[in-house]
């Protein structure tokens, strides 16, 4: 897949716009395409796209980045941060990213339906041939990754 196709750009724009607006952080593509977030530091969630195409989007990042974002958003110190706050922010980030992603991809007046975000546990699911991965990093080089999976979802403008 090329980095310049509409699908790839739609997600990049959605993530950038969400993080810049919500947490004042800029994201770029990760310089190391082979980088994986260590499992012991991994936090992730997923959200289903139900209509007009079917698929799933996952957001994964290091817990250390999640903690930074939470402190930044709530304006609190590390020791005050609760797991519930981090989970809620992760879910709201994914919810907003997927909404923008679908808006960027679909025709102007085309409706879409998405589910509610759900937290993942343990390792990320296996990547198959219908999964596209965006490996990104913040300006402080903290890694985050987005996965879009599902044949009809990734076929959208994936020229």
């Amino acid at each position: 897949m090329t980095k310049h196709n509409p699908l790839y750009q739609a997600m990049l724009t959605a993530v950038s716009q969400t993080l810049e607006n919500m947490v004042f952080i800029e994201v770029t593509e990760h310089f190391d395409r082979s980088y994986e977030i260590p499992t012991e530091d991994l936090t992730w969630n997923s959200l289903l796209v139900n209509d007009p195409v079917q698929g799933e989007v996952r957001l994964a990042m290091a817990k250390t980045l999640m903690k930074k974002l939470t402190g930044n958003i709530f304006g609190i110190d590390d020791e005050e941060i609760t797991p519930a706050q981090m989970d809620d922010i992760l879910n709201e980030l994914l919810n907003t990213i997927v909404g923008l992603f679908m808006t960027n991809l679909l025709a102007h007046d085309q409706e879409y339906k998405m589910g509610l975000p759900e937290l993942g546990e343990g390792e990320l699911p296996e990547i198959d041939e219908n999964t596209i991965v965006w490996k990104l990093m913040t300006d402080e080089e903290d890694a985050l990754q987005i996965f879009a999976t599902g044949a009809s979802l990734v076929a959208l403008k994936n020229d």
Partner: protein, 124 residues
């Protein structure tokens, strides 16, 4: 004192909305938080409320159902409703406006967006 209900299942989203309201000069408004439509509806029925800000995708009762309930209630029919959602698009917006929402804003919401949407409310 004016009262605004903020209905969203995300603590983070409610906090962002409250922050936007504070930035545009509504820091002294009483903000009532609700985690879903049913809670928001109960809060609206229990006291005088000036504005309802609601998300669409919520458990228990979603935003669209909440709007229908508000517009079906003689007591609440005139309550202004602004939808703040990540699932908005022109077709959905038209549908929500037809149901009775005053405006539909797409997440991530920002103070200028909120200022524009609440211009009438701020003038009152």
């Amino acid at each position: 004192m004016k009262r605004i209900i903020i209905a969203d299942d995300s603590t983070t989203a409610r906090m962002f909305i409250k922050r936007c309201l504070q930035i545009i000069g509504l820091g002294d408004v009483e903000m009532i938080e609700a985690e879903h439509g049913k809670e928001a509806l109960a809060a609206a029925k229990a006291q005088e409320v000036d504005l309802l800000l609601t998300d669409l995708n919520m458990p228990v009762m979603d935003g669209e159902t909440l709007i229908k309930w508000v517009k079906a209630s003689p007591k609440l029919v005139d309550l202004p409703i602004i939808v703040i959602t990540s699932a908005g698009n022109p077709a959905k917006e038209a549908q929500l406006l037809k149901l009775g929402a005053r405006r539909v804003l797409n997440k991530p919401v920002s103070p200028p967006m909120m200022m524009d949407a609440l211009a009438d409310f701020l003038d009152e």
